[in-house]
Subunit: 127 residues, 6 copies
Amino acid sequence: MNKEIFDRGLEIRKKVLGAEFVEKSLATADEFNMPMQELTTEYCWGAIWGRDGLPHKTRSMLNLAIISVLNRPHELKMHIKGALKNGVTKGEIREVFMQVAVYAGIPAGVDSFRIAREAFAQVEKSA
Amino acid sequence: MNKEIFDRGLEIRKKVLGAEFVEKSLATADEFNMPMQELTTEYCWGAIWGRDGLPHKTRSMLNLAIISVLNRPHELKMHIKGALKNGVTKGEIREVFMQVAVYAGIPAGVDSFRIAREAFAQVEKSA
Amino acid sequence: MNKEIFDRGLEIRKKVLGAEFVEKSLATADEFNMPMQELTTEYCWGAIWGRDGLPHKTRSMLNLAIISVLNRPHELKMHIKGALKNGVTKGEIREVFMQVAVYAGIPAGVDSFRIAREAFAQVEKSA
Amino acid sequence: MNKEIFDRGLEIRKKVLGAEFVEKSLATADEFNMPMQELTTEYCWGAIWGRDGLPHKTRSMLNLAIISVLNRPHELKMHIKGALKNGVTKGEIREVFMQVAVYAGIPAGVDSFRIAREAFAQVEKSA
Amino acid sequence: MNKEIFDRGLEIRKKVLGAEFVEKSLATADEFNMPMQELTTEYCWGAIWGRDGLPHKTRSMLNLAIISVLNRPHELKMHIKGALKNGVTKGEIREVFMQVAVYAGIPAGVDSFRIAREAFAQVEKSA
Amino acid sequence: MNKEIFDRGLEIRKKVLGAEFVEKSLATADEFNMPMQELTTEYCWGAIWGRDGLPHKTRSMLNLAIISVLNRPHELKMHIKGALKNGVTKGEIREVFMQVAVYAGIPAGVDSFRIAREAFAQVEKSA
């Protein structure tokens, strides 16, 4: 593990997904899934999100598109909430999923809109 | 068919993919694939690309991510060239595919980088 | 939006998915997802389902195969119920999913059979 | 191996894909891929295509949809030719791929139309 | 159906997934899904798992990788439990999903780790 | 970049894919794709292949399954050759792809067998 990249990744991960959520994920990790927590933090959040080439807002929009096509609802919901934190507006989220609907098919679009509405409701409730 | 949306779509499609390419696609369409040409132009380029909510440059980046994950090399190469026309830099294309590599897996990233290099070579040759 | 195609799409959508369900979807749509409702109704149900080239029963069978492979359980369940409305028999649904099992893999088949049994139970309960 | 199902499968496979092609596949099989040839013939063509519940024409249309979504061009081209042998018209093939384009996304549709035109050209040339 | 292969498949299926679970699946099968039960037992468990070329432990590891990429949570959980029965250790399951995370993307890895922890908890509870 | 993990990754990558191939990939990398070369070497070959939990032979078999399902022919061919280097026999490769055929569908199996035969022919020719 590269401590410097891990730390940078941890900071970005907390900023996007929320410090409480991330700290809980790490605190409840056990011998089984700790290596996965470390890999994600270092490579995903440190080595990619920590790069300069794109603003975090753009990376969030890309992730909504990617994870929607990959069909991973848990991860999608988390990244919808993260996108709001990174300044993506609801209107922009709508545009991303409209584009997904046409390029990856109507069911991918419909599912993503449903998950987005659930995410919005949870964010508003906890606000 | 909605003539107004089709015409708007045709204009955008020509701007992004090149007038010559699009005119040839339509001119060589026959009874079999003309409905698909019309659907794509109206639905994809008119109803989605014609919307106001996101700049074309952002839509291009989203498409690179989506089509890379969908694993459609022909379409990806076309949209890489279109992305360059829409002002996406090579550096930004690299960032999109680095993010794809981590979220959709290394083979998706490696394939996309190879296709991008082919696309760049073709663009430079024809310049 | 093309009013004529939208209206034709709305009619077909109600016939296949049930008027009550469709009216509720439209009535509860908000600024966020109304454009997706319109896109789906116009392009999916109007521009495709409204075409003459295949009977609705065949389109339902194709959709069961497509959505099963796409791995979208919510949409699949809805289209299983729609298929019954369009005259696809339980025996024919079984054949579609047997074919999916061999061409798209056993887990796709097993999942689709489980979802179909849930859909049948819901239809029988509400009958 | 179940000899009876294998023989029924072999007969159907020859009818749909052409006796010459199938005989060549079996004749050039070696120790490495013979078990795969046998599995395909028995499991795919015997145990599924040999079932009574759907006419071969419908099974061909389902396969075009399934393999198009699965994104397997070699297999798709082979099954487009097989679909023509099973009485699926070009107009019906167009409808299947239009439906794929909306449910599985425009790139899946565009790719399938291109492959279909290649398949038609090969069939006409060899006629 | 080939009685001999079906019986061998049934035996292996019971060994890996548990006799109680398999007997219940067969006992609650009806006219609709019995052919799918038979297909799975004969081809999946008899014709593939019954082959000599790989030990069951290796087949279990391959299945974790395959079903994780295929994104089928129900089937994945079942096969995680089966993998434990076949002697795959938790540490080895971790390695399989770490490798999935890098080759098929972080969300596939994260989802698989979450499902694995649920499976482990269920196994420990019923022990 | 973590120099230690990169170096370990580079060594393993050369061992599995061949020193000549890897050196050429790095030597012809430019500003555009060098970051991807580094990510792959460090993340894929260092952080995953460099872990102790599974022998390289098992990792090769897992990769054949994963990349076959992901439908990435270029990468699959490269990893088939790598698998032979890691001691996976042709017979074991056959078993992996038979299992893929049943769990991910016949077209995935057929495609993988075809690619394997091409890879074997290239290896034998260059031997």
